[in-house]
């Protein structure tokens, strides 16, 4: 049938439309009704208003998920001329991004770091919108545009704290690195477009997996394209050669925005990366022969460098935000292992599900970590780790929560972080073919790095529990700090005891949302993984979506 769009597409897309309008309303509200209020009152009012909008959008998402796409678990849930995904992937991840956004909004209400609250919250909402579109986009044009919208909103939010020098500097550095990398990314896209003549991710995957296409062998232009696209994504998720912006941006940005950078933008960019690298360029992934290496080798190098550099540099950090920045770089390294597994595994959906599991847990915990930084910012104006001294004595519950968070970030069993790493590394070990050795090495390095990371996470715990305080004590944190902390720690603990529920959900998402082009499977399934995860049919029978009916 001819692709088109109907009213249902708009209904499915209504949460995003609602949010966009909500952002405009936020601006109008700030300039008209609240224009006479002081900064603090406006901050509180607009924050509550923003939370209301986000919550209603989440509700709308879930309603749609049950009403329209809840039962759709096929390849075909594309809307708007197949440029967007209207399926479970879209609804679930939209709800997730909005949850992150709600927590970030709570953190924004902690203290006054700018006087332009209307613009601040509007840009926050719009960046959430563009993240959702980025996750849902099935077309390179939509993907590039939403990626740019997201990053431009984030540049602006980063520099929004106009009373501090470092905020402006962070914004400019973020902007310069970001726009250069997006220019490289765009050139890579243009080369891919030249080789396939299509901008639809799925169509690119099908064309590249055609019979007459011998992978990447002898295709230097394709290699350059992959490299440039990898630069773009690597910047967005702060992988190592392109990470220089991250520590500065995280430290300079106000704590909520740093949390937003670490959680939302990383989540959206990684999902888009899985789509492009696994879906469109998936056929170029594996090393079919020593003469034709796929992008796996390169990504493995990046991943190894990222986790090692992140962890070892984090060891020396004293500023809490900077420490969290380096830890997020390290986590990006772990996640790249998952991306590689998606690229070359025979069980791509499961690998993607494991990666998404890790992403969710990581996002929640890191937001909670930045909530700590926001607390310090409000009461002491500094964010050094030593400011946490003796926190556990005065606020035992906070101590427990932080303990859970840190254990989850290290990956210690009772918490969800452990299962995230476990699933992802098992999927990574599940691959076969030429790249098996690489993956085993990567997993080993990942485990070693987890041990290394334990040192600086434990340093925070040591400060909280063992050290005596030597500074003026923190005041009680209001609900706007305790909520993100509680949500992060609680969910980390809950999914630590109920990992299967989240994993099942993520598998539904990845199976119905991601579509990978067929690729000659190089290896047989491994029996060992079956004991942990029930075996799924390989993605070979993933039908091309073009002739499937619309929901």
């Amino acid at each position: 049938m001819a692709a088109g769009f109907s009213l249902q597409d708009f209904i499915l897309f209504s949460p995003v439309i609602l949010l966009t309008g909500w952002g405009l309303l936020t601006l109008i509200l700030d300039l008209t009704v609240l224009s006479r209020l002081g900064d603090t009152e406006r901050n509180r009012a607009l924050g509550l208003w923003t939370i209301a909008g986000l919550v209603s959008s989440v509700v709308l998402c879930q309603f749609l998920a049950f009403e329209y796409v809840g039962n759709v678990s096929g390849q075909d849930n594309l809307i708007f001329f197949d440029t967007l995904n209207g399926g479970v992937l879209y609804t679930q991840f939209a709800a997730l991004v909005l949850l992150f956004a709600i927590l970030v909004t709570c953190l924004s209400m902690v203290w006054n770091f700018t006087s332009h609250w209307g613009e601040y919250y509007a840009l926050l909402i719009w960046s959430a919108v563009s993240m959702i579109v980025l996750i849902a986009s099935e077309d390179l044009i939509t993907l590039f545009l939403s990626l740019e919208t997201m990053t431009i909103c984030l540049y602006l939010l980063t520099a929004m704290e106009k009373s501090k020098k470092r905020s402006a500097e962070a914004g400019l550095k973020y902007f310069v690195y970001g726009s250069v990398s997006s220019a490289l990314f765009l050139f890579g896209l243009s080369l891919v477009y030249g080789q396939t003549g299509s901008t639809s991710i799925d169509m690119i995957g099908q064309i590249l997996s055609g019979a007459e296409r011998p992978g990447l062998s002898g295709n230097l232009a394709g290699g350059v394209a992959v490299l440039m696209i990898m630069v773009g994504f690597g910047f967005k998720i702060s992988a190592v050669p392109f990470h220089q912006w991250a520590p500065d941006a995280y430290e300079g940005a106000p704590a909520p925005i740093a949390a937003w950078l670490a959680s939302g933008s990383k989540l959206a960019s990684l999902v888009a990366m899985v789509k492009v690298m696994g879906g469109a360029l998936g056929t170029w992934s594996a090393t079919t022969s020593p003469t034709s290496p796929g992008w796996v080798g390169l990504l493995a190098l990046i991943s190894a460098a990222t986790m090692t550099y992140g962890n070892f540099t984090a060891l020396g950090q004293t500023n809490l935000k900077r420490l969290l920045a380096y830890s997020s770089i390290a986590h990006a390294g772990y996640m790249l292992v998952g991306v590689i597994a998606v690229g070359i595994s025979t069980r791509r959906e499961e690998a993607a599900a494991a990666l998404f599991f890790y992403l969710v847990i990581y996002g929640l915990t890191t937001i909670a970590g930045f909530a700590l930084a926001a607390w310090l910012d409000r009461d002491l104006g500094t964010e050094s780790v030593d400011d946490l001294n003796g926190l556990g004595r005065r606020h035992p519950y906070v101590g427990v929560a932080v303990c859970v968070l840190m254990l989850s970030m290290i990956g210690i069993p009772p918490t969800a972080g452990f299962f995230g790493k476990l699933y992802m590394f098992m999927e990574a070990l599940n691959v076969g073919g030429q790249d098996k050795v690489t993956m085993i090495g990567l997993v080993a390095l990942g485990l070693f790095n987890s041990v290394v990371s334990a040192f600086y996470y434990v340093r925070i715990l040591k400060a909280i529990f063992l050290r005596e305080t030597d500074r003026k004590p923190l005041q009680n944190m209001g609900p706007e700090i305790s909520l993100p902390l509680a949500v992060g720690a609680g969910l980390a603990l809950f999914f630590g005891f109920q990992p299967a529920s989240l994993l099942e959900d993520m598998e539904v998402v990845s199976r119905s949302g991601l579509r990978f082009a067929e690729r000659p499977i190089a290896s047989e399934e491994r029996g060992v993984v079956r004991t942990i995860l029930p075996a799924r049919p390989a993605s070979a029978e993933a039908a091309p979506p073009t002739e499937a009916p619309k929901p």
Partner: protein, 199 residues
């Protein structure tokens, strides 16, 4: 004939790009950039995309360059002379990157068979009876762009609107002086004051 035209045009454009990169004076660099944009517009005409050429002139030469000039005027000494010098290391790095990327790209283009085969621009004949969508698009680009924007790329179109709105809002907020600004010692008077007038 047209090949010679293309070669001359491209050589001019590359020279202008080099000038943009190397000019000591930023305003001169911006002027070179204008020339480069114009060459790109000519390339679009050679590619039978006159609509894109018009957009190129309108947006880049008309708007982007003007914004850049404003930026130069507001941040540099008024004549826009470059004051800082590039360290030898960065200069070597830049030249190295230029050499590698250019070589690799050219080699890649040459190595890719389907591109080198396209020596002749394909024709999309448009007759009364039979026509191809692309032939239609080439003949009347503007209506096609309009319809595509309203149908296939409607989300992208709306997203572009959102992008421009966000950029406008944010840029205004950033460029505006306000009370929470840390005022530099040598700072000029706040921009929200009215301009000098003869009254």
């Amino acid at each position: 004939m047209i090949q010679a035209l293309f070669i001359a045009l491209s050589a001019f454009g590359l020279l202008m790009a080099l000038g943009t990169v190397f000019a000591r004076n930023l305003v001169n660099a911006a002027l070179f950039l204008v020339a480069f944009f114009f060459v790109i517009a000519c390339q679009f005409v050679l590619l039978e995309a006159e609509f894109m050429a018009a957009i190129q002139v309108l947006i880049y030469i008309g708007a982007v360059t003007v914004i850049l000039m404003f930026g130069i005027m507001l941040t540099r000494n008024i004549q826009g002379d470059e004051t800082t010098t590039v360290s030898k290391r960065w200069r070597l790095l830049g030249l190295g990157a230029f050499g590698t990327v250019c070589t690799v790209l050219v080699l890649g283009i040459n190595a890719y068979q389907p591109w080198t085969d396209l020596a002749v621009r394909p024709e999309f004949p448009v007759t009364k009876d039979s026509t191809t969508p692309r032939g239609q698009a080439i003949l009347s680009m503007t209506p096609t762009v309009g319809r595509e924007m309203m149908t296939r790329y409607v989300v992208a179109f709306e997203l572009a609107g959102l992008l421009l709105t966000a950029a406008l809002v944010g840029a205004v907020v950033l460029a505006q002086h306000d009370s929470t600004d840390i005022v530099n010692a040598k700072a000029e008077k706040p921009g929200t004051e009215p301009a000098v007038t003869g009254s």
